[in-house]
């Protein structure tokens, strides 16, 4: 039980001693990335294979441990072999490779360079075997990242309180409780320039100040872990990889505003995050870092997890509160803002996971340090979830002000198959897209707003030349239309009308007048909707219209989809002169709509064709075209 500051110091020293001892006793440590992503890719089997192989070979001086998401999703499952002299990060491993790593690397001392991410695995095949092993931090994917929120992810065992404390965990809480007044904490957070990482970008310190200024009494602090944007997974990774950082951040926030009770509202679709979070809470309670009179002070704080049932709108703060209260998850009118009247009418602060994960580092290292990172009005870092048409799918924590080009081409490794970059969607379905001409814009809250999009929670979906922007907008609107709660008419009916129109357009039934109507509807929905969901739902349509207007025109006027995505707007043809009459196309066609023989060139029956593209892919002579 950690009852005093002295206890915490001692606990930390013990932990450090233990890990020193471990290093002295054991020759190696193998860390397996076991976030949801890693486990889905097969990390569990890898973990078991490593343990089994070590046992079989009678190797006892190796520690095998799980860790959270290492961040390099494209290379999952990942395992890091840590030896005193160097670390090797193996990617794309399976049980068989895992056994070989134990045999060759652990037992035989031979690094398998071609599988190592910090070796040859990312290089062209012929260079793989000769590649040198570099520091993991020097791999382009990691090199320009600055990890604050993710500092422990992929490093510590998320289920170990000791490892968190050994890496300065709960030091900030201790500092706050023993050396700072709530007003000092708020001042420090304000000075740091931290803005809400959930999307809105409101000053965290100012928000806390509002709640702090409310008369004393019951107050609440809530963590929004209802990460629902398609393609966004940074909050999950933090909860899975470093849950104590969120617990500590919330406890500091609670102290600052005068709350004694907190809730983490986490989506039920994140079972591992929920499990690790609950474990972290119970560990903290057991050790006295949550509960009554924390570290011997007057401050008491209790924390509970509440599960969301899968409604996107519950990420909106007032809907989230309604959901915690057991009501239908629907937004409420603001003002009053939750900082004044939130959960059960009491002053409530709601921040997202990443915001809370930034708090302890700010307190420990100071607002000046934090303020030195980032751009003028957007301080610190932002975690982005790179997804879509990009080589290095994964999590990247970058200083604010980094350009999109650096993120996509340096960290993200560019677009697969040499395709051209077309646009990037930030802010998920509530955001907008950024076309190639703005690749050199430094990413921060204000610049993204100027481009007609938002920072959002950090989803970054990359589109290449073969993405149809009309279809992309339709996809996002389909999502928001379905997720509208139905409370106000602009969002409920407006998104449906817009979606119907877009569906008609991609089916080739759109009319030129539809485009102006779409724009008008979009602008009206943005203005008139009750909550953030409706106010941002038209963004994907409006921003693609802003930057890719000609594609919309082509869809309605020429009934053409230049990206070849909208199946109603193109057909596959076999060029008779080029057809060698081999019949492969007819063989692969799943609906048997291609006919011909050795004498007559093959033709596609357009009535029956389902436009799967299998024939075009199979044709060895490039005789099939799409137009």
């Amino acid at each position: 039980m950690i009852r005093t500051l002295e206890d915490l110091r001692e606990f930390k020293i013990q932990q450090e001693e233990r890990s020193r001892q471990e290093k002295a006793d054991k020759q190696a440590k193998i860390l397996v990335g076991m976030g949801t992503c890693g486990i889905a890719a097969g990390a569990q089997e890898v973990y078991e294979a490593i343990c089994d192989e070590l046992r079989q070979q009678g190797i006892e001086d190796v520690v095998v441990a799980q860790t959270g998401c290492i961040g390099f999703c494209a290379q999952e499952p990942l395992a890091e072999v840590i030896l005193p002299d160097r670390q090797v990060l193996y990617g794309h491993i399976d049980a068989e490779k895992a056994r070989k790593i134990v045999t060759d690397h652990i037992a035989g001392g031979q690094v398998i360079t071609e599988w190592a991410v910090n070796g040859g695995s990312l290089l062209p095949k012929e260079q793989q075997a000769e590649a040198e092993i570099v520091n993991v931090g020097d791999v382009p994917f990691f090199k320009t990242q600055v990890r604050i929120a993710l500092k422990n992810c992929g490093v510590i065992n998320p289920e170990s309180l000791g490892e968190y404390i050994a890496r300065d965990g709960y030091q900030s809480l201790a500092k706050v409780l023993t050396e700072m007044t709530p007003a000092d904490v708020i001042e420090e957070v304000k000075k740091s320039g931290l803005r809400g990482r959930g999307g809105g970008g409101f000053s965290t310190g100012m928000k806390w100040e509002f709640a702090h200024k409310q008369p004393p009494g019951q107050k609440y602090i809530v963590c929004n872990a209802d990460e629902g944007d398609p393609g966004a997974f940074m909050d999950r990774s933090i909860l899975e990889g470093d849950p104590h950082s969120v617990v500590e951040g919330m406890a500091i926030g609670a102290y600052a505003i005068g709350a004694n009770k907190g809730y983490v509202y986490c989506r039920a679709e994140y079972p591992i995050a929920v499990k690790r979070l609950n474990l972290a809470i119970s560990q903290a309670k057991e050790q006295g870092l949550l509960g009554e009179n924390i570290l011997g002070t007057d401050f008491s704080f209790d924390l509970e997890v509440r599960l969301g049932a899968g409604a996107f709108v519950c990420g909106e703060e007032t809907a989230l509160l309604a959901s915690i209260e057991g009501e239908r998850g629907e937004p409420r009118l603001r003002p009053p803002y939750p900082a004044v009247s939130g959960l059960w009418g009491k002053p409530t602060i709601i921040n997202n996971v990443e915001t809370f994960a930034n708090i302890a580092p700010i307190i420990r290292r100071g607002s000046d340090w934090f303020g030195s990172i980032g751009s003028e009005n957007s301080k610190g870092t932002k975690v982005f979830a790179l997804a879509g048409e990009i080589n290095n799918i994964g999590l990247a924590e970058i200083p604010m002000g980094t350009t999109l080009r650096e993120v996509i081409f340096d960290i993200g490794g560019g677009i697969p198959e040499g395709k051209q970059f077309k646009g990037a969607q930030t802010g998920g379905p509530s955001g907008g897209c950024i076309p190639a001409e703005f690749l050199d814009t430094p990413i921060d809250y204000d610049n993204l707003a100027k481009l007609g999009t938002i920072m959002g929670s950090g989803g970054l979906i990359i589109m290449a030349e073969d993405t149809c922007m009309v279809d992309l907008a339709r996809f996002f609107l389909d999502f928001t239309q379905e997720e509208s709660c139905g409370k106000c008419p602009p969002c409920r009916v407006g998104t449906t009308v817009m979606l119907d129109m877009l569906n008609r357009i991609v089916e080739g039934k759109g009319e030129v007048e539809d485009l102006e109507k779409l724009k008008e509807l979009g602008e009206n929905i943005k203005a008139a909707s009750l909550c953030g969901l409706g106010q941002t739902a038209p963004n994907p349509v409006l921003s693609t219209m802003r930057y890719f207007w000609e594609e919309y025109e082509e869809h309605v006027r020429d009934k053409k989809c230049r990206a070849g995505v909208c199946t109603a707007l193109f057909q596959y043809y076999i060029i008779p002169e080029k057809c060698k009459r081999c019949g492969i196309c007819a063989k692969v066609c799943p609906v048997k709509c291609i006919s011909g023989d050795r004498q007559t060139p093959y033709v596609i029956d357009q009535e029956l064709c389902i436009k799967c593209g299998a024939c075009m892919e199979a044709c060895p002579f490039d005789s099939i075209i799409k137009q």
Partner: protein
């Protein structure tokens, strides 16, 4: 008191007054759909917006509280376009069957479509296949005409506190109904009819309303005669006959009625209704004049009192009479007859 200006008109309002209430004070009418007096403002219909000088966006007047020095504009191009858009969206998802709809003439959506210049809706959402619920004895429910203002849900839950109506589904598939898609007849509905009274369209309409149009009606304000609460209500009269009842905003009922006040008015024209006193002669009840009847009562009461004493008589009055009548009756029993055996049925 706060100083505010509404369309150039200066006035003083109490702290906590909403813009909508302030507008009412100076007779400026603001269109509303979800707003209802005595219900907490919800701001969901987005119809009642006004412009507040210096504010970034238009404000919903039902939920925005007046501030000192507020300068409010209740109509301009921006406000008109906004409200028009809301009506257009509601019409896009509405069964526009005004010809046969019983609410024609008093429907708010119909009125606002006219006010905001919508002749023909530009947009149409694919109609959903909702079930029309006609299982209640007094009213029908047609979700295709519902605009989801939720007045019914709120009046049922927050005022009647019966918790029958709620919302299910989300987005465009949101629908007002009962848990597990129950029908009214199977639900815990007590047929108070307050949901029907507050419905701004024809989604919830009395069965009787099929037989009249609002412009054919005369309204007579009266007090409900069923119990001593004194609910205020308007009798809807068509050609001298009561065809319906609407709650009025009385001191004791604040716009609510119960099943009896709302629906039990048919006795007025019922053939079984007694219209003259009846005296039993030769074993048969026979019509009599009031003089005859009163004489008969007086004679018999005097006879009983003389023969057996006043305590042989007891009096029992109806709670459907007024307090004044009940008081007089009690006085008669104690003073004129001389017994304390007097009572009233008002103890449900």
């Amino acid at each position: 008191m706060l100083n505010v200006t509404i369309d150039g008109q200066k006035l003083q309002v109490k702290e906590g007054t909403t813009i909508l209430e302030a507008c009412e004070l100076v007779g400026v009418e603001i269109p509303t759909l979800c707003h209802l007096k005595h219900l907490a403002p919800e701001g969901s219909c987005r119809m009642c917006v006004v412009e507040v000088e210096g504010a970034r966006d238009l404000k919903v007047s039902c939920a925005t509280v007046c501030g000192e020095g507020m300068n409010i504009t209740t109509m301009n191009e921006k406000i008109h376009a906004w409200r028009r858009f809301i009506v257009e969206m509601l019409l896009a998802d509405h069964n526009i069957d005004c010809f046969s709809c019983s609410d024609t003439g008093k429907c708010k959506l119909y009125q606002y479509a006219l006010d905001y210049g919508i002749r023909e809706p530009r947009f149409k959402v694919q109609p959903r296949d909702w079930q029309i619920d006609d299982t209640n004895r007094f009213f029908d429910y047609d979700p295709h005409k519902c605009i989801l203002c939720r007045r019914c849900v709120r009046v049922c839950n927050d005022r009647q506190v019966n918790h029958t109506l709620n919302l299910s589904g989300r987005g465009i598939d949101t629908v007002v109904g009962m848990p597990f898609n129950e029908l009214f007849i199977d639900s815990n509905c007590v047929s108070c009819g307050n949901c029907v009274s507050v419905c701004p369209t024809g989604a919830l309409a009395t069965k009787a309303s099929k037989n009249y149009r609002s412009w054919e009606l005369a309204k007579t304000r009266t007090t409900c005669s069923y119990c001593a609460v004194g609910c205020q209500m308007d009798l809807l009269v068509k050609k001298g006959k009561v065809v319906g009842v609407e709650p009025a905003d009385g001191h004791s009922n604040k716009g609510l009625l119960c099943v009896k006040g709302k629906f039990a008015y048919k006795f007025i024209d019922h053939p079984d209704r007694l219209t003259t006193p009846l005296i039993r002669k030769d074993g048969e009840l026979q019509p009599a004049s009031w003089d005859e009847a009163l004489d008969y009562v007086v004679d018999n009461l005097q006879k009983i009192k003389t023969e057996s004493g006043p305590d042989a008589i007891a009096g029992f009055s109806s709670s459907r009479t007024t307090n004044e009548d009940n008081y007089t009756f009690m006085k008669m029993m104690r003073g004129a007859i001389g017994t304390n055996s007097v009572d009233n049925c008002a103890r449900v």
